[in-house]
Symmetry: D3
Subunit: 292 residues, 6 copies
């Protein structure tokens, strides 16, 4: 029995077909008020000629808006005639969380990005994670998953990636990050990994790049601009559309600044409960021992 | 270790004993207010002589009443002396959902009929599904699972069955459906299947028949009548009690009308959110393209 | 200070203006995610020439659909040129309950129809009730409030009215009920009254008519037909539009059957908890002492 | 019976005593787990010699941090010997909301700032509002209530005030706003007013000034700086401590910019549901008709 | 309009009739699943000849069992022929809380014993409090309200009373407490009073006695024995039944020990959050300053 | 891949290091308000020289206090210089339940003591159970898990153990129970076992002893005394510290009384719903058939 058969999620469109395909993933959700109800998750594929296959995902967490906006815009406008290769776009993967404006899915109170590789018979988030991993990922060569900090906090506008052990893949990923063109690119050893989409992508040998393009539960206007440009840049970088990536930064820098989180010392924990008063904002220079 | 040992659910009665056995399934449920509490689920077995073993289940969804009523009535009244074979009756399988008057179990917010084959160490609904599949099903030859549409909608009064690939089993099931004697019998390819009781029954090579005998969260008076008669008809059809099935319909038809759902076109989805205004009720003739 | 000033609800349209006015009631609702948010409740006024002023309300309970459908349809289509007088239409009064598909408002867990005459500084339902009572009712001569039984049960398709002590008003109301043309009209002494919209209307000396046009949480297709026709009939009866009310019944009867609930004996209570098995449906003849 | 007697909230400290008094407001809260429990709300009074009496309040909404931080810092450090007059500081008025990090109180799901003038026998928020209005306000001449936009949105760093009809009071309030020294001061006709602390203060003829010093559920570092300085400036302006207000702005401007919201056109509503993509941030120049 | 008319609660029995009357208070509760539902609260009156009228109430808080048990037992067994006067028994006043096993009502999240004198148009608990105050209390001369500490804590088995200012009433109440015969009787100035049943009783000049007969969410076996005996003792003391109160204590003492809470020093608050480790149990001798 | 790597829980301290190590288990918990948040669970290891390794755990259920208090006290005071062997102390294993004062974890509504052997990718409780089983247990020879009855009921102060089939282990466990020195030691066949910590410990061939040292959601003062003494006694019994166990009982008995639950007849179930009135307290002599 193939893995596609085993998923309870049904995909309206043919991921192998050329041209523009727009439809829904239909995920069954038995509720008290709708026993045979489904959740519809928009998916758009734009395919033409030959070339790499790229997956753009947004809304894995429901309260992270910049990716949803940029991928939706691209999905409405990308012309197959201009493309060599394939772009699969799922702007709002975790639709119940998106409709609820929360990080976690209100269906099962799970963080979908801690549910990979998922389970076709598990909870709704696990079922969805399984579909992305087992059905969608085999169709792609590159995965760009757009995140922000949601309601948890803020981040400097950045791409991010794991320090993967395969040097060639690491360098290809850093090149892709440089092409995306966010102000920063953060390279780190995984924290609480294994159950994330990133880990699922890496396990399949696919190039994986993430982002943090805002936070605080707001739409970051500059984050949306970076996302819009980054999607175009990625398509240029991999040769799907013509042109060179545009990576000049607002502060005049010519390129993305790569930074590294080398160990646990990169993270600080509050020593007790209370109301935390920060002294800095994202992007400030800090030194160990200084008041935050 | 046998599968019976592994279940945490304890069955009060001996399913192999002759005569009338009435007791409880005792399912442990650790709660904040009762750490070693159990949930008691009535089970009645009536066994005599030799003959097929039939399982009648109701209340797999808590807000589906017709089966609960008809099976409870039968369980209170069936005289072993009149029976050749065995009838096992569980009128309210999913007792927490029944007490809560909801489709889903309030314990784990799961649809028990999406939890098969279950897991003896999983959530409450998974544990219960495992018990039914691993402990009860090995004792039966025929499974009749009585459902309605609950609060989700309405259905024409009907039995239903999968278009199982084994032709002999398919014909035996259609014959059982005809004997049950509902106005309609619906044959369909499974939707969101695999995790249902029906699928679990079929995996064990047992004859499986379901029903839709009402809906809208009401007790359908005619649905109860069909259920009462259907249980008697099934026992007659399989030779457990004497007599011929009585299948004359209210509208004068002599027999059940078999209908088939051949593909996805049998289902319609609303193209957008809002308040849906139907133009038909169950049983009306509709044509593709006509306003519903 | 006038009562209009004291309400926190703002009305977009001028209730005294001629022609078609369509807009929103804007009711402030401070939430954790939107401190200065408002709830928008559609309101349409159609006014021309001279004649009575009629208020059509639906959705006082969120899960009662027939009135919402019929009043919305009328609000989209009624041409001022055909009208003498004024029709004010609020198809979904209790918008938070309508969006939640529940009888009670999810904002304050209150039944809005137990909150009259309301309180401009109280909970959301109380604030809304106050607006309807203090701001809207002074603009109308006749109030037709469309209800069904929601998820609580079912009713024969009917209008209903209190046995008001003023004989002239009682006879005018019965005449309006007869004009509405539902199969039944129920006259009763109030139960749990005083806090309902009906009571608020009566306190102001305005003619008040209610309906029960369905139930069980479904859209009653015949109930919608009766509602559509009833709204037209009421406008004809009061001379707002030309024509005679059409009151012929489906069963061939020429007119509405008036029935009376004279005392508490008209209501039965279950003597204990459990699963209630009814033996009749709405409209059946029952006798005292017979099994229900 | 005096109004002080009628409140169920007990104040630990003597608001008329000189020197530094630090204690709690003890508000009774009967819970399922603590029938005679109380909620403790810190209050600090610093009084010396003669001079105006000022009330600094924060945390009327639980997720607005800048005022809580600045007032707590002042409460820990203000030396009575340096003061002429009285400063009463309640940095976290709505303690249940503060502990819950939400705008609304989790006790009664109410916005305390829509509960004034309150009710000593009402819900918890109403009881607390009554205490502030009836017991605390009679002790003060000036009320400075520090707010932000919480999780609802963002605001330019600003003070705000109503366009009160008494011209002398309006000018005194504008002068106080200028002394506070936020980048902006917003003057507006009240929206959804009457039930706010501001309205309660105005009804008593007390000078009332509010702020918006951040938002998005974050601590605005610059907002805290403006708050710290603003509290000092207000004390200087009213002569409680020596010195001149320091009002130079970060952008070089010498003083606060006063702006006015003249009518409803100052507010825009989304015409439909969906994901809103903004094009501007707070402080940007916008024109009517331009895309936001 | 009389106050009886204004209550929405209907009383099945005639409180003025002689003999044994047993029925229900029927309190309307509009729910999402039952729009015209009622809550039934058992009430029993036993009346004969002339003599004082006593009210025994239990279950004002749902998780206080001893009074519910003792009053229910008395209500089932008290023979009118043995009585001179009237005993009105409501063993489970706050039925929604009793069914939910919580102090607060799950309907409105209110402590009914903080809702007096209530409001016939308010929330469910307020409506119920109003009924007790306005309809029941005018029928009684003595009110004995049985409480325990519920899930909040524990108490020495005791009656309690306010130090009412009317000396004659105070002495009559102390005599009644002595007759009840609990190990302790606690006299105190009210804490968080005014909204309790006790206060409502006192406002009407009726003798009021309360109890604390257990706690910790358990049934205190000795507390039930004291309650059973106390109800008999009270009826003897007031001459409703023949015989002398039996007040000998288990520890050999001949009578109840009266204790007094003179001021706030009788209560201690935890100085910070955490897990509290007590060193004593109820009834231990403690001294100010000693470790608890 | 080793099992330690697979856990998402990080342990701050080196379990193999000598001396006193105090730190936290850091368990990741993605929440709507803190995507990369962790839960900190205190762990203390005291190790010196050679000797058995003992694990003391408390707070597996959040509302069981006696073990939390006794183990916390020991963790703050135990001097490595006095020890031969190792004591690992986790006084509040299930920190989310401890902070919530409930048996079940509020994160996933699971009883952690029904989640063993756990799952590193499962829900929070399953992840935590896996860490204890797979990472901590391999470091210990003896496991003492301190429980009470929480809010579910009460128990005589006791240790308890399974009637394990290995006679040598059973006798070693009974000797350890006798050394612990509670008034009772209960030996029983497992009920609802397999998923408990006890079962996980036994599966690894480690000596397992449990306790019931209180209940009713209170801190049992005598239970804390028994717990304090029991921990010391266990360390003496296994030679970690010098001295003989002190097992004299309060009632003068020299030693623990061993009791046995031989079969299901040791448990009684209520035959119907209602308010249960007990006639005995823990420790009373009861006979089959007598009223409880």
């Amino acid at each position: 029995m193939s893995s596609e058969i085993k998923s309870r999620v049904r995909c309206d469109i043919d991921l192998d077909a050329p041209g523009r395909q727009a439809g829904y993933l239909r995920a069954p959700l038995s509720r008290n008020t709708s026993g045979w109800g489904t959740v519809e998750i928009p998916i758009v594929s734009v395919k033409n000629g030959s070339g790499p296959r790229i997956l753009f995902t947004g809304g894995v967490h429901g309260d992270e808006y910049e990716g949803q906006i940029a991928i939706s815009r691209l999905a409405r406008t990308l012309d197959p005639a201009t493309v060599q290769g394939q772009v699969i776009m799922i702007p709002a993967v975790n639709m119940p969380a998106v409709m609820n404006d929360t990080r976690l899915s209100p269906v099962d109170n799970r963080d979908m990005n801690r549910c990979f590789p998922g389970n076709p018979r598990g909870t709704f988030s696990e079922m969805l994670a399984h579909f992305i991993d087992a059905i969608v990922l085999p169709h792609v060569d590159v995965s760009i998953d757009l995140h922000t900090c949601g309601h948890s906090g803020d981040a400097a506008l950045s791409t991010n990636m794991h320090y993967v052990s395969d040097k060639a893949m690491r360098e290809k990923t850093m090149a892709a990050a440089a092409a995306f063109g966010a102000p920063y690119n953060v390279v780190f050893w995984g924290v609480d990994e294994g159950a994330t989409l990133t880990s699922a992508v890496e396990r399949r040998g696919i190039l994986s790049l993430g982002t943090e393009l805002g936070g605080w539960g707001r739409v970051n206007v500059e984050g949306v601009r970076i996302a819009d440009r980054g999607l175009q840049n990625i398509m240029r970088h991999f040769g799907l559309i013509v042109g060179e990536p545009e990576t000049r930064q607002k502060d005049g820098a010519a390129a993305t600044r790569h930074m590294m989180v080398r160990d646990q010392a990169g993270y600080s924990f509050a020593p007790s409960g209370g109301l935390f008063e920060p002294r800095n904002v994202v992007g400030d220079d800090c030194r160990a021992g200084a008041k935050l």
